[in-house]
Symmetry: C2
Subunit: 352 residues, 2 copies
């Protein structure tokens, strides 16, 4: 059993060391995560995604700064939809910036430096960037591990930021309680620019760079898309099919039904700090919704099931590799390359 | 054994039926793919990707039209870098349009209609759209199946088009011989707009909508990024690490080294057809490079290994589900949700 006391007590150096161990998947890191796991589940996890050029880093910066310096008096409510005494206290904020498309850590490091101007020296903020670990599975596992460590270390708000539009974003939506999708005016004017698939993971749509021309068009297009197409939190129902057959007559397999939340739309100019208090209020409103409807627990369950499934898959491949001669695999691959057997036939041969 | 004669003879209706069976993963579809597999490996696979708003569909349309109506005399060479007698003959072109972010088929159907204006009624063109099948693995498998069917059916050029920026694009780069990444001027002016990770999968960078202001800046930024960061076809070397341990002392595991290709940059205005012949020439140039360096065979090997690995993973999960009581899984999940055990401990319990 690892000594987790320093982590639970908020020792920053111990936390930094642990994060590195988690990223590198060392035995000590994994053991610490096992021990820390019962102390997790308290933080509010906020996912932030959007196409390149929408200004994610600036927005995350400003949001972190806002949580660190909450305005007195008219601050937006943190929980339960009404102003609470503790709202004036600054929250501890962690940022995990994930770039699944880049195998370089250079960009991530640059990102850190830019952030530091506003937030450096504040012990209540911890920013960690991660570039690709080679596989999407490894990246998702490492992200979940970092989030768990921050959660156990007492960070109230954990912002998970990713680049791009694809499977990684869906995975993040599964990890976060509240997902922000950023748009920006002028990022392409055809229908393609606003994809139903990306809208679908959004709890809050943020039109950043809202001082640019075209903001009205962007907002109108988003509203139209929402009114036409919003199907509820559909991604969380995907699992249903996957388990139906396996579970057979067991009642109610797969993901639980979630309440219907119509995504909010907010405008910001993150570089100027405009719209940040209103965005924070929208995030608080979504948090209240999750608590009141019981969706917070349901999302937690979906999140943990998703992580469990990913890890089972990895464990099965590792075990299979241990039981299979690499030469058998390679010989089968050679036959496949010579097109003597099909991919399906190759698998049938390698997996009994 | 399925009757594959009509497919090999180019019967369009039989092909359409087979594509549906492959998408639905029916037993007949899978059996047909096994039988057809030895007839594959002849087509040139071109991947086209880029952020929403870059004009992918228009470009793919124009490219397909160009291949169907090759100019006489000064046509770009098809193979081997020099003009061949058969170049004047139109090639059969198939398009597989994949949208991993959308669970709706609506967008895909709309896409088909828009395309049809230019290409409808031409028996040498076949366009097939696919929305998400629920899982990325299922989508990748279905895409590979459709491509194999088109290949066996004698289509010379198969264009695989995807939306977004993420793992799906990397998967497509693995599937295609030549990958086009589209950019457009004004799609975000900060460094984030041009990600090293996306550049990395590009064999040809296409600046579409090149009649827009900012095209010079976009081209300069792309050139700078290429000069600074281009690391060669790095994604194909990822597999190396994954197999090193397993293969142990077996020499040279993992992916083969590929020759260094500096991505070409071409400007187009797809809606007007501008730059399309030059783009086709660049594609032909890359094809020649692949043939001359032997990279075509190496890429084929990587592609098939990647498909094999994905299928092994799926087969292992299916087999494990067959051997594991759903109730055991669900009970473990409950303990995980109550945070009595960690994700790693849950997996250790479920996978011996």
């Amino acid at each position: 059993v690892s000594d987790i006391e320093p982590i639970l007590n908020g020792n920053r150096l111990a936390l930094a060391r642990l994060l590195t161990q988690i990223e590198n998947e060392t035995a000590a890191g994994m053991a610490a995560l096992n021990t820390l796991f019962p102390y997790t589940g308290r933080a509010h996890l906020i996912g932030v995604t959007g196409a390149p050029g929408t200004g994610k880093s600036s927005l995350v910066n400003r949001l972190a700064y806002f949580y660190r310096h909450p305005p007195t008096g008219d601050a937006p409510p943190l929980k339960g939809g009404e102003a609470a005494p503790e709202q004036a206290a600054p929250r501890k904020v962690a940022v995990v910036a994930v770039d699944p498309t880049s195998p370089f850590s250079g960009g991530a490091v640059l990102g850190d430096r830019i952030r530091m101007r506003d937030l450096s020296g504040d012990p209540g903020v911890f920013i960690r960037s991660m570039a690709s670990r080679g596989s999407l599975g490894g990246l998702a596992r490492a992200t979940a591990g970092l989030v768990a460590a921050f959660d156990a270390a007492g960070f109230d708000t954990i912002i998970i930021e990713t680049v791009g539009a694809g499977q990684a974003e869906v995975d993040i939506a599964k990890l976060a309680h509240t997902t922000l999708v950023l748009e920006a005016p002028g990022l392409g004017d055809d229908v393609q620019a606003i994809k139903a698939g990306i809208l679908e993971i959004a709890d809050i749509l943020v039109i950043n760079k809202a001082d640019r021309p075209g903001v009205e068009n962007t907002e109108r297009a988003l509203k139209n898309m929402l009114n036409l197409a919003h199907p509820g939190p559909r991604i969380f129902q995907e699992a249903r099919g996957r388990y139906r057959e396996w579970a057979a007559e067991t009642p109610a397999p797969g993901a639980p039904e979630l309440a219907l939340w119509m995504p909010l739309i907010r405008r910001t100019v993150a570089t100027e700090g405009e719209g940040i208090p209103e965005l924070a209020a929208a995030i608080a409103q979504h948090r209240s919704f999750l608590e009141e409807t019981g969706d917070l627990q349901k999302r937690e369950r979906i999140r943990l099931q998703s992580e469990l499934d990913l890890r089972i898959q990895d464990a099965l491949v590792t075990r299979w590799q241990g039981n299979t001669h690499y030469d058998a695999y390679r010989n089968t691959l050679e036959q496949l390359v010579r097109r003597e057997i099909s991919p399906a036939q190759a698998v049938a041969r390698l997996v009994n």
